[in-house]
């Protein structure tokens, strides 16, 4: 019988620790499929973040490095500079990339560092139990914004793609979402392109994946995906923010 669907080779058989309904599993799969399709597992080095995806080093079957909170782009820079022929990616959440690691993110982008960043934005700190993130929406209730994010006190959410697009250097920046089949397919294409850019030596590619956190949002998985569509995407519009290939 012909196999019509199977686990990507670039994922290990380790059981994922993610909560029921969490899109991290889907996004891991998209990254692994891209690595499989491009045939680069043997020369890829991944960098895991601190946050929910901290144990990504157990899930991807390529060589992996676990970075300190927010430092993945700096660690990836070191790896890529030492191994320019290899493919280096980071997988980071919103707290990691857009709060504590903002300097590392911006400077990797402005160097057009030839790496691929997968940035999962679910508007909350998941691993620590649901605190306000740099991308939490105005009014969003979290453990550290129990009366809703008050922008007068906590400031406004950061739109990472828009911000990085203001830089001259980065090669490719796109925001996608993992909330329905159509968006997942689009995300798959974007992630693969981000890896292909690196193989072709084009430079910095960042794919922001708008995602959900049913557990810490206090919603059912279905309701959480609806919240992505109704609340997140209007604040974080999907699309290509920078593509030097298209502009060339």
């Amino acid at each position: 019988m012909a196999i019509v669907f199977e686990k990507p080779k670039s994922l290990t058989s380790k059981e994922l620790h993610y909560c029921p309904g969490c899109p991290h599993g889907i996004i891991h799969r998209l990254v692994a499929e891209a690595i499989d399709n491009l045939g680069i597992e043997g020369k890829t080095v991944g960098v895991a973040p601190v946050g929910c995806a901290v144990m990504a080093y157990d899930y991807f079957s390529c060589d992996m490095v676990e970075a300190a909170h927010g430092r993945a782009p700096a660690v990836a820079t070191g790896i890529k500079r030492a191994l320019p022929e290899n493919v280096v990616f980071t997988y980071q959440g919103d707290g990691d990339l857009a709060s504590i690691g903002m300097a590392e993110t911006v400077h990797a982008a402005t160097r057009n560092e030839n790496i691929t960043i997968i940035f999962v934005n679910n508007a909350i700190y998941g691993m620590t139990g649901g605190q306000m993130a740099p991308t939490s929406l105005p009014g969003q209730v979290t453990q550290t914004s129990p009366y809703g994010r008050d922008v007068k006190v906590a400031g406004y959410p950061i739109r990472v793609c828009e911000m990085l697009s203001a830089l001259d250097a980065p090669y490719y920046i796109e925001r996608v979402a993992a909330n329905n089949v159509k968006n997942v397919l689009r995300a798959k294409k974007a992630i693969e392109k981000a890896f292909r850019n690196q193989i072709e030596g084009k430079g910095f590619s960042l794919i922001e994946v708008v995602s959900a956190c049913p557990t810490n949002w206090g919603m059912t998985p279905q309701k959480a995906l609806e919240w992505v569509e109704d609340k997140m995407i209007p604040y974080y519009p999907l699309g290509v923010f920078k593509d030097k290939e298209a502009n060339a």
Binding site: G42, V54, V65, E66, A74
Partner: protein, 355 residues
Amino acid sequence: MSEKVLMKGNEAIAEAALRAGCRHYFGYPITPQTELTAYMAKRLPKLEGGVFLQAESEISAINMVYGVAGTGKRVMTSSSSPGISLKQEGISYIAGADLPAVIVNVQRGGPGLGGIQPSQSDYFQATKGGGHGDYHLIVLTPSSVQEMADLTHLAFDLADKYRCPAMLLADGTMGQMMEPVALPEETNCKVEKPWAVTGTEMKREHNIINSLYLSPEVLEKTNFERFERYAKIEKNEVRYESYMMDDAEYCIVAFGIAARVAKNAISAMRKEGFKVGLIRPITIWPFPKKAIREAADKVKGFVSVELSMGQMIEDVKLAEECLRPVLLCNRAGGMIPSVDQIISVTKELVEGGRK
């Protein structure tokens, strides 16, 4: 040995690192170590595979070091005291992931922004951990530009041999002074690194560079194993200079620039008939405990000469097991003890011994 050339301490470190096969350097400007960064900026782009990068911060620089160290290649960063504080997070991760790397601290006075004059007040930070968790660095303390070069070379070898970060703990004087130096021969890493992340090439299981162990039993085991390695370092790698100790009745303990001033004080006191000697730790972790303990059986007391409010003196007291008095002769904030000050404190010790 090659012909001697006149070099600044900071540049001697940089050149020695290149000759040790280091082709990856990440830095951030800070006085008084900037010549080292500038030297690397000039040389590395001209060398095959050479990578120089001015990072956006000391935090990023040390994390770039972590990335390169994970690939198994020789890598270095350098900074001065406030910058080294910023690097502590990354140093703890490098130690926790059992990676070799070389970190240079050309110390200046503190705390806080402090000053830019020489200091030894990062002794605690360098020898007692510095970052979070149970770990040590191998800490080497040069006392001449020649040693800046030689100990840099050695730091790479020791870091690779024991899979741990090594620190060259210099000070602003050492960094800025010029002396003739015979540069070390070209070498490179001599140990295999099967743990490195270089891409599996689909020929082996994936390697993981990591310091996270959620099971306390497993985390404890990694700590125990690391400390077994530290025990080997303490057994094999203690280095110190014993100067005029054969007949010494009084022992000065000093390293770096303080040891050089101490030698002048010893010459002057010997002329006056005082039998004073010096133990100069070259490694301050591991600390030459045995040498100090053995000296305690022969001498009447110790003077710890330091450019700090008295940090190494604690290790001296632990090592000599309270057998003899230990006096502190110190300056702080970028000041250096003078020959006269060392003589005066050593004479206090002599007087105390005669009472």
